[in-house]
Amino acid sequence: MDSSSLMQYILTGLAQGGLYALIGLGFVLIYNVTGIINFVQGEFVMLGAMLAVTYERMGLPLPLVIVFAVVSVALIGAGLEVISIRPARRATPLTLIIITIGLSMAVRGIALLIWGTDPLVIPAFSGGGPIKILGGALMPQQFWILGATAVSVLGLYIFLDLTVMGKAFRACVINKMGASLMGISPRRMSTLAFALGAAVGALGGVVFAPTLASYDMGMALGVKGFVAAVLGGLTSVPGVILSGFIVGIGESFGTAFISSGYKDAISLFILLLVLLVRPQGLFGIYGGKRV
């Protein structure tokens, strides 16, 4: 194996990992405010991709396609929280998680009825051939994926660190009781968490839509995002981003040197191993919550 091949595995892993990081970010946002592992997360990605296809076919220009798809899915996420999680919020976390599993099946079923079973795609955001980096090659669309990851992290930083609503969101994560005593409604923050989680997931779906938009894509991507989130400790934004890249690169090398058939097993195996050695994840801290 020469160095350009090595570079290719790393680049492929990074591009794929960027997507996993975005999906994992959604898990982290929702988990920290609500304590729920949200199994609808993968379906948010699917909805983002599907709506991107729909808006693109309506003839909207690309920037509007992106914005509309992300906003639509954010509203769907908030709506799902209001109709299904909020009425059951006194239930145990396990019950709530089961509700999200049910929701994910429902969303997939509805998507099947609306969009059918054929895999769909939209044109790549920007044309042109592959871009060479140190002997490896990436398609321009893969830079869009990495860009979307960067934009999401930056956007979240601005929201969480520089706006009062974002600080209220963090206050809710740090101390729910203290927050409600300060006039911050944990219910509204839970809805906001679902909207934000849905939005970052949808952005992942939109940038992935030139590769694939299919009603059944959500589950597999959701699992990868989940692994990234747990690996990252479930509470830290830098942790989940880094873990996303680790999963992506692990997968790429696993495909090259073991078999692509085992790559799902590989990421789950890494997760199990890490959980045995460091139950708080690679980047988590015991008990401490930070976003």
Binding site: V164, K167, A168, R170, A171, I174, N175, M177, G178, A179, S180, L181, M182, G183, I184, S185, R187, K289, R290
Partner: protein, 250 residues
């Protein structure tokens, strides 16, 4: 004196036969009390007598099974905590519940969250007023709240409570775990606040302290109000002396 309609209206807070359960067990039994505007009211009682539970019931944290909580003439029984804050009652909780990973300034601003987007301009000014009141916090606005000393954290929790502009400030055990000098400082600030027109209801295990600084007091025992009256009178009450001030009854 028979309570008149006008008399009832002048009370800021009124509890009527309030009962609170933890699961199946009755924790607060038929509590009735009232707080007049401008007073400092103390709620005295031993550990586990239900003082903190009562604070939780007032602020919407603990569900009230029976009875009524009336604040500023409005029934606020079992409203959500953030709505009660917005109506003008703010609790500084026993364990302070400050946001450790946020800065001092952010903690204070979040105290005014319920009106932040309507009242941005004034909030900057009020922040300065609160810092004037708690000079210990000045110069530490950008520090993380978790890095403050215990006394400073208590002041931050109080300042944060004040940022909501409360008509009634509830304080749960403000002296707990603090050095005597700091306790003195904090209670002086309470007297200051009273001067400025804030009504205060405080819960204290340290009865001596509470009765010294308050106008009136209620004594809570195993979930029931057993005594009430002017604090100066209660200080001399032999039953209080025996039970709470550590003096043997003669």
């Amino acid at each position: 004196m028979r309570p008149t309609w006008a008399g009832r209206c002048s009370s800021l807070l009124k509890l009527e036969d309030v009962e609170v359960y933890h699961g199946q067990s009755l924790v607060l039994k038929a509590i009735s009390l009232h707080v007049q505007a401008g007073e400092i009211i103390a709620l005295v009682g031993a550990n586990g007598s239900g003082k903190s539970t009562l604070m939780g019931a007032l602020t919407g944290l603990n569900p009230v099974r029976r009875g009524k909580v009336v604040f500023l003439g409005q029934d606020i029984t079992n409203k959500q905590p953030h709505r009660i804050v917005a109506s003008g009652m703010s609790l500084v909780p026993e364990r302070r519940e400050i946001f450790n990973a946020l800065t001092v300034e952010d903690n204070l601003i979040l105290g005014a969250y319920h009106r932040y987007y309507r009242d941005k301009k004034n909030i900057r000014q009020e922040l300065q007023n609160v810092l004037d009141m708690f000079p210990a916090l000045r110069g530490k606005e950008k520090r993380l709240a978790g890095a403050l000393s215990g006394g400073e954290q208590q002041m931050l929790a109080m300042g944060r409570g004040l940022m909501s502009n409360p008509r009634l400030l509830l304080l749960d055990e403000p002296s707990i775990g603090l050095a005597p000098l700091i306790i003195q400082e904090i209670f002086k600030i309470l007297l200051n606040l009273k001067e400025l027109g804030t009504t205060i209801m405080l819960v204290e295990q340290n009865a001596q302290l509470a009765l010294t600084y308050s106008d009136r007091a209620y004594v809570l025992e195993r979930g029931e109000l057993v005594l009430d009256g002017a604090s100066s009178a209660l200080l001399k009450d032999p039953r209080i002396e025996a039970a709470y001030l550590g003096k043997k009854a003669l």
